[in-house]
Amino acid sequence: MSADETGARLDEDSPLSAEESLALIERQQREVHRRLGVNVALFYGPWGAAYLLGFGAIFLTYPTAVAVRLPAAVAIAITVVLFASAVVITAVTGARAGRGLRGPSQAAGAMYGWSWGLGFCALGVVNTGVTRLGLPDDAVTLLWSGSSLLLVGVLYLGGGALFQDRFQYGLGAWMLLSGAVSVFAGVPGNFAVVALAGGGGLLLAAGYFALRPPRPRP
């Protein structure tokens, strides 16, 4: 054991040239960013799948130009399962990201995570309150899809600012646009817009983040 230790120490303490030292720094920086970095694709992929397949399924419960018709129960089951999975995957990924760390970045990350929960709670209360006053069914549907995408878009704008990530900011702007378009598409067109533009945008973001090399933390 002591021989092992000596061997390790000799190896580790062997002198480095300036070139070797700089190469070691670069290698170690890449390794640390890779290991400390969060798999950001996991924040987008499950949501993209939930939007595309969940809202896509709801769209197919309406009589549309598409030949396929789904029973409402099936569409609702798909949507609930996919959205619940997305919530769990995102929460677990977020919690794992901060393992063994504390400080300003953790506080900022936690506050940002809670803004999603707080925002959607408030959105639910507001929309339910407005709906209670009596709205046509289509108006209720459009209120929910439009306001949800508006909130998602604004939260991505905030995330882009917080994490100094222009791509995330751009995704936020895209979600705002999708939300606005969905309201004017009417029912059931709004579901197609949310599924294709919203879900598609999120899946593209997941692909982009999966391919982008790990970055240093801001």
Partner: protein, 108 residues
């Protein structure tokens, strides 16, 4: 350039593989963040004994701050770079760059 042994101008506290790796890892954290000893150990693939030894040397030099605390009655050790530590690390990298052979001049 044959730069063997302790080179003049290079901080001997940092110019050793293991401690250099520790400094790189700590400098990669967001300013003000702290990391637990086990997570740092896992990040660097170092044994606990080895990491403690090198952290002590870095702490003695004033480059890292070690905070021992309790979380739910379990002792937790947090490690972070100090401002002098970050400055020493940046100076060390600048000194390394000066030791490199000069790069080719464009058009030369």
């Amino acid at each position: 350039m044959s730069a063997i042994g302790s080179m003049p101008g290079l901080d001997p506290v940092i110019h050793a593989q293991a401690r250099l790796r520790v400094m790189v890892a700590l400098a990669a954290l967001t300013a003000g963040d702290q990391i637990t000893f086990p997570r740092l150990q896992q990040l660097l693939d170092m044994t606990a004994g080895n990491l403690s030894t090198h952290l002590r040397k870095l702490e003695d030099a004033g480059y890292v701050q070690i905070t021992k605390t309790y979380q739910r009655r379990t002792p937790v050790t947090y490690v972070a770079l100090t401002s002098p530590g970050l400055r020493a690390f940046e100076d060390y990298i600048a000194a390394l760059r000066l030791l490199l052979p000069p790069t080719e001049q464009p058009g030369g």
